[in-house]
């Protein structure tokens, strides 16, 4: 099969008989009960306070056990290249890539929604002309990915991947389909809350980040060790979009709003670099 998929043929899962699936069956997958996982989460939360980022060592998320550094992080100030970010622009991203509902020959199934918000730095400066990428499951909770074994239907009109460039005020906007929750193998009957993966760049490469946006009031929040790896409720709330009726449009889409704050820029800003002040 050719790798050159430039035609609009819709998502296809490759039938690759030589595919080595040994890593699909995650050695960290367990048959632990939700009660076990929830009790472990509670124990950790009870002894934590005020954390702003997830723990890289979070045993209820079984795959984190062998994949987190155990030695101290090395504190340092950024130098040279680290004070800059790669430049992206309209050469890199076509305007249509921010609309995930027009990538196929027909309309994808599910709830059409828009998500909009700003990318800001710690000083409230908008991050302009920067790349924002998203990827997500479809309205059935299925990814276009050969490692996704969830027996829910693919949508021939939905790839679940989008890109955009922030505008002069730091705003991004995507039109998409609301993703569904999906099962995973961390423990028995494990389900991820519905989410959209976001990838972000700032003005310094030290601000580079990948995260997940969630939907308000998801009943799966308390059960999910990935969301709960952030031990503080205030910090977890920063990943949850708000329903915004001003982003919804008449007879077309529901709307969500979500601002993203990157770690403070380490560069010394010159007068004229920004009009935020």
């Amino acid at each position: 099969m050719s790798n050159d998929i430039t035609e609009n043929t819709g998502p296809v899962v490759e039938d690759d008989e030589t595919f080595d699936n040994s890593h699909v069956l995650d050695p960290a997958a367990t048959q632990d009960s939700q009660e076990t996982i929830s009790a472990e989460i509670k124990d950790i939360h009870d002894s934590a306070s005020g954390e702003t980022q997830p723990r890289v060592n979070f045993p209820p998320y079984r795959s984190s056990l062998l994949r987190h550094p155990t030695k101290d992080m090395h504190h340092t100030d950024p130098e040279t290249i680290e004070l800059w970010s790669p430049a992206f622009g309209h050469r890199d991203v076509h305007t249509l890539e921010s609309d995930l509902t027009v990538q196929g020959n027909g309309e994808p199934l599910g709830e059409r929604m828009v998500v909009r918000g700003r990318v800001l730095d710690g000083d409230g400066r908008p991050v302009r002309n920067q790349l924002v990428e998203i990827w997500q499951a479809n309205a059935s909770g299925r990814y276009v990915h050969k490692r996704d074994q969830h027996p829910a239907p693919l949508d021939p009109n939905f790839t679940g991947v989008g890109r955009t460039i922030t505008d002069d005020k730091g705003f991004y906007e995507f039109t998409t389909i609301k993703p569904a929750p999906y099962p995973w193998k961390n423990h028995h009957n494990a389900w991820r809350p519905a989410h959209i993966h976001f990838s972000l760049f700032g003005t310094d490469f030290t601000q580079r980040m990948i995260t997940q946006m969630y939907f308000p009031g998801d009943p799966l929040f308390s059960l999910d060790p990935i969301y709960q790896s952030i031990t503080d409720q205030k910090a977890r709330d920063r990943l949850v979009a708000t329903y915004d009726h001003n982003v919804s449009t008449h007879e077309w889409n529901t709307g969500y709003y979500w601002d993203i704050v990157l770690t403070g820029s380490n560069r010394t800003w010159m007068e004229g670099d920004t009009d935020a002040h």
């Binding site: 998929i5 980022q53 994949r67 290249i81 790669p86 409230g124 995260t211 977890r236 704050v261 990157l262």
Partner: protein, 213 residues
Amino acid sequence: MRIDQNQLAAARDGSEKLVPTPGQTIGPFFGYASGYENVHIPFRDGQHLVNPASPKAVRLTGTVYDGAGDPIPDAMIEIWQADENGQIPQETGSLVRDGWTFTGWGRATADNVGTYTFSTVNPGPTEEGKAPFIHVVVFARGLMNKLHTRIYLPEDTVALEKDALLSSVEADRRQTLIAEREADGTLRFDIHLQGEQETVFLQFPGIEYPVHD
């Protein structure tokens, strides 16, 4: 969440910084090495900062390992570097490479045996006498937040000796930040997320990595 006008005003006048949005794992479904470059975040030629056929192309490769010494097949590595003259690129076009413009940034996924490969150039020193390095950020399923590190070129031993960051790292771990140069010019740099040979990861001001004792 929404940053309201009061928070924004306080951040802009410097009275209270905005708290950064937490990171989350990249998860398993960000893409894989072949076939889907146009529908996942790994993109066509993401790993080719320069055409591998170019006479100046350098292969940068290595394996990502977990704490048991097993390769990690679902990691994504990005590099960001100066060009061979030490200039910091500010050209667009990384996602749609034209074959001529050096943008300094690349993205590669680990393959089924945990190996990533870039085609790039040796970065030059950004200042006279400074040890040249490539900046790296690591994402993986099972890894809750991004990890930054540096790949130093091994040749300029005088500059390496003087380098402020390397000097501040314990002597027995310094080597985890320096690539090996193979006979054909290949730079080899393995990444160990955990264990005996754990790579030194960098924490820059403004981000927290909470640790539970």
